[in-house]
Amino acid sequence: MQLIECPWCGSREETEFHYGGEAHVVYPDDPASLNDEQWAHYVFFRANPKGLFAERWNHSAGCRRWFNAVRDTATYRFHSVYRLDEQKPTIS
């Protein structure tokens, strides 16, 4: 188990958190104009990189707020956590 840094509560154990998948998936600007393929990609298709991944987490057993994180999917290390209204940080 690892510690995850909630932006509001600080470090807490992994079991307090709920995973939310890829971050920054934006609802379509003009939903009525999407064809089936575009809808399928919005609903089902997510990035699945081996390496840095911007994803959502919820501190479900704590403050219950969502936040974003950049985590390495190969090492599981969290490189950054940031609030939903913040830009995705650049990590070299």
Binding site: M1, Y19, F45, R46, K50, E55
Partner: protein, 411 residues
């Protein structure tokens, strides 16, 4: 096995080298990326059923060293939907004759599987699945708690536990096999037919020409290919990303563990969908236990301890005697999971590239069936009827095969 023999004494001797380690040729008719069970089975049936032997199986590590080497080896076909039932039952029938086909021991043991029900809704869903199985010609029956106890005396059928056993579905033909021997048997047969199995050969890119892939770039040089099949299980996204193909799979760690060796105490396979534990006893005597996938994406081939803790709590409640068993080791494989808990097999936007991924937790049991159907697909350049429903475009057409109910672990 007599009582005087130590556990495992009836196992076959460790094999000699079963396949060559050839240098890659400049070109092959078919290049299979991934030397696990699916890649090797596909190679075997390409040679056996279609006479196609100018084939290379490329493996980035060592042969069958990924999920094939570390899985819980359960084989069953009691899936709800017709599409799933067909491919898994096809596989199960092939398993039943595989030892003869490969002329190699795979220790296939049809000891039956119990899928436990713990609530009234579980019971209704289970009975529905039993009836669906029967309609598909698959052996299945509903058994009550007393019959569960007869089939597997260790199961706690007390009504005062947190998740009481209200009955189970039972598929007598389900079983386990020795996963290493399965891989080695397929590899030996493919090698005998002239197929090159190339280990330590990582695919680093693809050479494309319009809608075709003409070659595969590898850590051992470029290899030209007439057709390409991607059989890299949890790592498929790393390949499709290079090709610019989007797939809806997410890779997750799936953990399992084994106990020390015990006397034969656990005669069937027991699975519980609701509390995420499944148990069988390996030929040598280890209790083999699996759990659900870890929630987050990961390629690290390890998972989180709290998943194991939850799994062990469930196991000890269902099998109180397990509290005395010592844990020997744990491992995590990487499974690629689809939104509808079914695989993706078939065409890609490239004319000569076939995709095989998204098997989640069900890949091992499908090994011969998938190999058979994918080989047929490659040979005829047309998806075999059993895999046609699992095409990538089902996410656009909406013809999903939503099989969470029979996948039996948390997806």
């Amino acid at each position: 096995m007599t009582a005087t023999q130590p556990p495992g004494a009836h196992l076959p001797d460790h094999p000699d080298f079963l396949w060559r380690n050839p240098e890659p040729k400049k070109s092959y008719d078919v290049v299979i990326v991934g030397g696990g069970g699916h890649g090797l089975a596909t190679a075997h049936y390409l040679a056996k059923n279609h006479g196609i032997t100018n084939v290379a199986v490329l493996e980035k590590g060592w042969l069958a060293g990924g999920n094939m080497a570390r899985n819980t080896t359960l084989i069953r076909s009691n899936y709800l939907w017709d599409e799933s039932a067909k491919i898994y039952e096809h596989a199960l029938k092939l398993w039943e004759g595989l030892e003869d086909d490969l002329d190699y021991p795979i220790l296939f043991s049809q000891r039956g599987v119990l899928n436990l029900a713990h609530s009234l809704q579980d019971v209704r869903d289970s009975v529905r699945r039993v009836e669906a199985n029967k309609l598909n010609g698959i052996d299945a029956e509903w058994v009550g708690p007393d019959e569960v106890k007869k089939l597997c005396p260790l199961v706690n059928i007390s009504s005062d536990i947190r998740y009481p056993v209200m009955g189970a579905t039972y598929q007598p033909r389900a079983g386990i096999a020795k996963h290493d021997y399965v891989a080695w048997g397929f590899a030996r047969r493919a090698d005998e037919a002239g197929i090159d199995i190339i280990q330590n050969c990582e695919v680093t890119g693809f050479v494309t020409d319009g809608n075709k892939v003409t070659g595969v770039r590898t850590s051992r040089g470029d290899i030209a290919a007439g057709q390409v099949a991607l059989c890299a299980a949890g790592h498929t996204s790393t390949l499709t990303d290079m090709l610019g193909i989007r797939t809806p799979v997410q890779s997750h760690p799936l953990q399992a563990l084994v106990s020390e060796l015990l006397e034969p105490v656990h005669p069937t396979i027991v699975m519980s969908n609701a509390i995420h534990v499944y148990v069988s006893q390996a030929h040598k005597g280890e209790l083999v236990m699996g759990a659900g996938v870890d929630s987050y994406n990961g390629y690290g081939q390890r998972g989180a301890f709290h998943i194991i803790e939850r799994q062990m709590a469930a196991a000890v409640e269902l099998f109180p005697v397990f509290a005395r068993a010592h844990l020997l080791r744990t491992w995590g494989g990487i499974v690629d999971v689809c939104p509808d808990a079914s695989p993706i097999v078939g065409r890609t936007p490239y004319d000569n590239v076939y995709l095989n991924c998204g098997w989640g937790t069900g890949g091992f049991k499908a090994t011969p069936g998938l190999g058979w159907c994918l080989a047929d697909t490659i040979a005829n350049d047309e998806p075999h009827e059993f895999i046609a429903p699992f095409s990538l475009d089902r996410f656009v057409t909406g013809a999903l095969v939503d099989e969470h109910g029979a996948a039996a672990v948390a997806h």
